[in-house]
């Protein structure tokens, strides 16, 4: 596999492996592509492709109930699909770790992404999820470590919000 050029996916992948996270659930996003490729290429891991992000909350909770660690990787628009579902790990006192690549934020081209992009952090916090925003590539891995460790050790829900500044805005060839 060729090395990704984004500077953070390798480090996050290493931390995922170091924490024995074996299952990663996703509705994919462009910014997650290098990381998802590494997960898919790892024979000890399972990449679960979802129809909607909320399923990932159920699967990750089920994995913990059965003794395995899982997480969910999604685009910010998917956070809106997860809100009611986040009551499940909260009720079970189960850990829930989310990695979210942001849209509708830093230089967004597509107006349809803006409302949900703005709502991600307040909506997650309203249902009790601890948010860990990060806007520098060099700080993504440390932020992931902080979120993962509080999620699994304190059995709460935590979300790493990777800024569009890290991912880069998609321009659709327009100025």
């Amino acid at each position: 596999m060729s090395a990704p050029s984004d500077g953070w996916s390798d480090a996050v992948f290493r931390e995922i492996k170091a924490r024995d996270i074996e299952v990663v659930c996703t509705v994919p996003d462009g910014g997650l592509t290098p990381l998802l490729k590494m997960i898919e290429g790892d024979r000890a891991m399972r990449l679960v492709t979802l129809t909607t992000e909320e399923e990932g909350i159920g699967i990750a909770t089920g994995c913990w109930l059965g003794g395995k660690r899982a997480m969910i990787a999604m685009q910010s628009s998917g956070v809106g699909n997860c809100i009611n579902a986040l009551g499940l790990p909260a009720a079970f006192r189960a850990p829930c770790l989310m990695l979210v690549t942001m849209r509708g934020q830093w230089g967004e081209f597509n107006p349809w992404q803006v409302p949900m992009g703005q709502a991600v952090k307040p909506a997650l916090e309203a249902v009790g999820v601890r948010c860990f925003p990060v806007d520098k590539p060099a700080e993504v891995a440390d932020t992931f470590i902080a979120a993962a460790d509080i999620a699994y050790n304190s059995r709460i829900s935590a979300a790493v919000l990777i800024s569009q500044r890290v991912i880069g805005a998609k321009g659709f060839g327009q100025k």
Partner: protein, 196 residues
Amino acid sequence: MSATPNKIQRRPFMAELLAKRGKALIVPGLGSPTWDCFAAGDSPEYLYSWGGMGLALPTALGIALAQPDRRVTCVTGDGEIMMGIGSLAVVADNAPKNLSILVLDNEKFGETGRQRGLTSSRTDIAAVAKGFGIPATMTVTEHGAVAELAKFLFEGPGPVLAVAKIAITEDPWQLPEKDGANIAHRFRLSLGLDQA
């Protein structure tokens, strides 16, 4: 779908079915499937649910992936499976051999006042499951099929889905533990994952 009214009485049907579960872990959906399991006799291997409609099947899938040597059976209703119907594609894609699904289909939103559900007209959940790639399905309309259903759910290779066409019945309330932390703890304790 039904030319004749559904006949199966859910409480005795579920009691007889669960008596044949062996070591299967049961993941009942919120509402009546949870009440049915508790009414049949409490067990830490029943992961009772009081919310998160649509999530019983994804939760069961997660448990099945984490416990590949244990049979896991999701018992849900027509309303809940329809809310998360796409999860059948995720189950088919991951093909867990230890996962089975039972849909108790009374064609109504029983918990909220028996409003009509989407399976009351044209939607056939077993046919939908086949289309999503669930290899084997079964539709049960008679109480007498419970032994055959138990074999299908608890013994054969998964993933499989069965639909039981159940009657609308007036059953006494049977409410289990509702503290999720306690439900999760006793479930994990039974798997040897938590300390007492």
